[in-house]
Symmetry: D5
Subunit: 145 residues, 10 copies
């Protein structure tokens, strides 16, 4: 642990977040996300929900200021009547760290979301989140010292 | 995640617990425990307290039935007036899984505790526990099928 | 070994099953399956039949609830008069863990089956099964806590 | 699998047995044996009993003809009233492969047995044997072509 | 060395042969075969001729019963007047282990042979064979216990 | 780079500082320190002076509150008339982060200093510091959240 | 450190620069450059600006004498009104080491610049530069002894 | 060093030359050749000229007897007035070991030469040769015992 | 294979012999020698007798000219009536390469021989030799160019 | 290659020399030195004499200014009448880089020399030097910028 850094960020995760640059992406997967088959670089945060991870990451990592939607959610599949109340929580958390708030979000179709993780995520963080459609992609912005 | 297995147990931790045999030991360290300098095999569970980890482990791993004290706590240093209320929590948790309950515990002097981790722990689990004197050593027992 | 977990599941296999997510696949090959040339991740369970492995896996891993056929068998080749009584055993085992039972199965042509293992299986489990056409692919479902 | 070789011997185990020379030892541990903390070279045969493994090994590996007792059992601890019927099975199996039969066996005190594994076993084979005091050490003899 | 297993089969080669499944191929190259640039998995048997290796392999590994020609030779190049008496030896050896004998052989054009090794051989065995056009590909069959 | 974290701390160094626990030590070596022969874990910060590194580390890592002297300097060798003005800079920096200020320092004889690095430092940080007797050892304290 | 070699060049960087040959390229990224996702070979020089790194490299490495523009800058994006005063500094530094001076520079569109790093840079050097559009690619020339 | 083997051939190079088979190629690069970016297998012979390396290699390795031009030089670029006196030296050396002498040489355009190294050379040997257009590719022949 | 080098010397063995210096030792073990448990560096030459290996090695490696007995044999154990006719063959082979002939030999007690391999042999070569007491240690001499 | 750096210093050697600090030692061995059995870190400069290597190293690395004898030679063995004219060359070379010249040398008994390499040399450089008693140990000094 270190002073002033959220304790949920493991040493390895801290390293990876620091390595990422402008435009790099990461995926936070829920407990059923197939992260290991989509990426060779996986950080496990078993037993934690996505909201606490999201909030901790945004304390040290800015969202991309150069794109309109630096946050992506997995779209509810057509015909699926599932509700996604956790998205509201995500939007509140983002709003605390980025003035665009809910405006920073876009939705991505399920299999396109998998492909985007596979092709573009520098790391996949595996949470123990039990809510559905709870996966989220973040695009890192420019850190201003 | 798997059915019927506590989700806080990461895949790697599950593997390690299954590899351990009768008499092997593990240490669950608090957030300030120097686990990485005491062992080459460390599982990080950042952001979690020791009680939830302890309870999850005891759901799948029995304590050694062949020794009197299969659980060890780090003794409060002489002159230190610190209280250790978390020990009561530990004893309640152990009592739920082993009939010896509080009788299964022993206390080990601080530096002897470090040495025991170094020489005998098959793995060190690094929690984010913030209580003091919260480190604990468990000795695995015989699994009866 | 661990309490409540089928002892045939090795520590490494347990880890891999836990890493897999929704939609990931695994192949259980018979004793003559070319698993090592189809995958870099192989778990060997020499000397065991497929049924006991299948049953053990289904105790901890659900089948995909989002596809019609989460189980695939290797189709008997045209002109081959071989019988496949072991398929009935598989269907009984599946029925004990998934209400779709035999309805969960599909058949895949031999070389398409090899290709599917190569492209999509997260792991190949090599059994010592001596029955023919005994290979099977499982697609993992969502674990509900 | 190969022709004429017991299928329970995995490819990796076959390699290791072939590498061993005159006087090298191996340990077959029961399901609770702490093999991973005693050796860096472990072959897992989860789900199998010791007798079937013992018999398969002796089909390809002779016992040391130059020492009196090439087979060692873990002695029952003083005060322990446990019975060890599996020892009789072991002796029958050995008798089928080595004319010394039961005369080839010696008993070693529990902790001395652990130490011997640690210092001298080229490999530890982890079975799923559930019988107690079922661990066994074999010393390889000279292969006569 | 092990009882009943040809001593020319090294421990590593034995492991690899056992890992191979139905339909997997291997190449035995002569002393000038470019095996290391065609494959990442090479077993060297320097100083041995191909016939003794071929005979040893066929003692433990069946040829594919499901294809017409499980054995491939490198075709003499057009215009080359070289004789290949070693092929007769190969056919005699195969005939001792497979009833198809010489009928099991096919010839493959030189560069197609290289490509087949590169794309399909699970292992290349480098002999010290000095005869020309002495390279050979074997396709593993089903082991019947 | 990350928000709120001194940019001189590399991703790897950040990870290592976070891994360290209560009582673990690190050495910051000057440009001529034999760090690579004293430790297998070296972080290079070529081209930087020790003061800027020291200040950055103390922003995220507390000094040990349980020992009297958590900071060690390399003592000037007997007979050496060298001046060590950089020590004053170090004491000012420490005073900004720890109320003990100069009182937190001790001096260690040159070869004992090397030995202490070798036996106890979790990491050696190699700076490009050109001042003499500029090496320094820090002992990590308890992080209070 | 070595005599006559700029101390900011780390041992690993020195090795890499020496390995590079005529026509090989390297990228010096600013503090927000996504170097780790563009290359597997990254040298970190956290906390340093690009100019001091550029000057040090050009002391030991010539620019390509066989191409017109051995130096590439990342073009300001259309519509972006950002100023790039650091480019003047770069040109002064290059002019000290190569007679072509500013004439050696070309500009490359942002995403083409990323692609060029990915496909052609032998190494990416990650600086802590805070100026914008400060990334630079160098093409190594022939070293004349 | 070994008896009868040119001492400039390092142990690792000797191993690689012995691994190469009929038709495999190697490149000897001059001191500015970009060998490390063209190949993952590089043997460095810093400080040596190409002629002494070429002569040593040809003492143990025959040139391909089955192709017309087993030796390739990098063609002088159009418009370049450079002289290549070192080619004469190469031809004399080759003539000492292969009766085809200068007839064994062909010239390859510069970028085609790079591509051929990248696609076909089993190893790149990096010399310290300072002559220009001094790179050379050799194709190994059949070793006759 | 290479010109003028005995083909039984594998590429890896050639490399190792070349790496060895004055005074370094190697062991050639018979088919039952426990080489893998005595050394981490083992070259296997399965299926070959010791004499052909010994002769090949002495063609490229001189025996130590600075000690009286650069060759060691394993002494027949007291009470063992075994004959060792292969020693005569060894002496004839050595006599062909070193003028001291049989005078270069010493005998070492069996367990001291094992210890010497373990502590001093740079490599163990595992042959398939079936003669008894056929193990031999060679001490490398100075190569004179 | 790099500007102003002796081309005989390979990239890897340059890195190692730069990593070394005040007081660290290196050994330059002659062609028969048993460097590989004395150290895990060996740089090979086959085919070069020691003088050219020594001179190149001293161009970038100062000798220890804090000890009387930063250079060590291997003493001629008692009774050996060998001459060591190469020592004069060494002294001339050292004198060009260090004002102490021949005064910087000490002699170390042969086996003590081996032990010193084993225990204290950060690297062993293997030359192809054919002179006898030509091995030399250098102790690195403080680099003054």
């Amino acid at each position: 642990m270190l002073k002033g850094i959220p304790p949920i960020l493991s040493p390895e995760l801290l390293k990876i977040l620091a390595e990422m640059g402008h435009g790099d992406e990461l995926t936070i997967g829920d407990g059923n996300y197939p992260g290991h088959s989509l990426s060779d670089r996986v950080i496990r945060l078993d037993g934690h929900g996505v909201p606490e991870i999201l909030d901790a990451i945004l304390q040290v990592m800015p969202l991309d200021q150069y794109v309109e939607h630096p946050v992506a959610l997995m779209q509810v599949m057509p015909g699926d009547t599932a509700e996604t109340p956790i998205w509201d929580t995500y939007k509140e958390i983002v709003a605390r760290h980025d003035e665009r708030g809910a405006g920073a979000f876009e939705e991505v179709e399920r299999f396109a979301f998998y492909d985007r993780t596979k092709e573009k995520s520098y790391v996949v963080i595996m949470s123990g989140e039990t809510a559905i459609y709870a996966n989220i992609i973040l695009k890192k912005g420019v850190v201003k010292l």
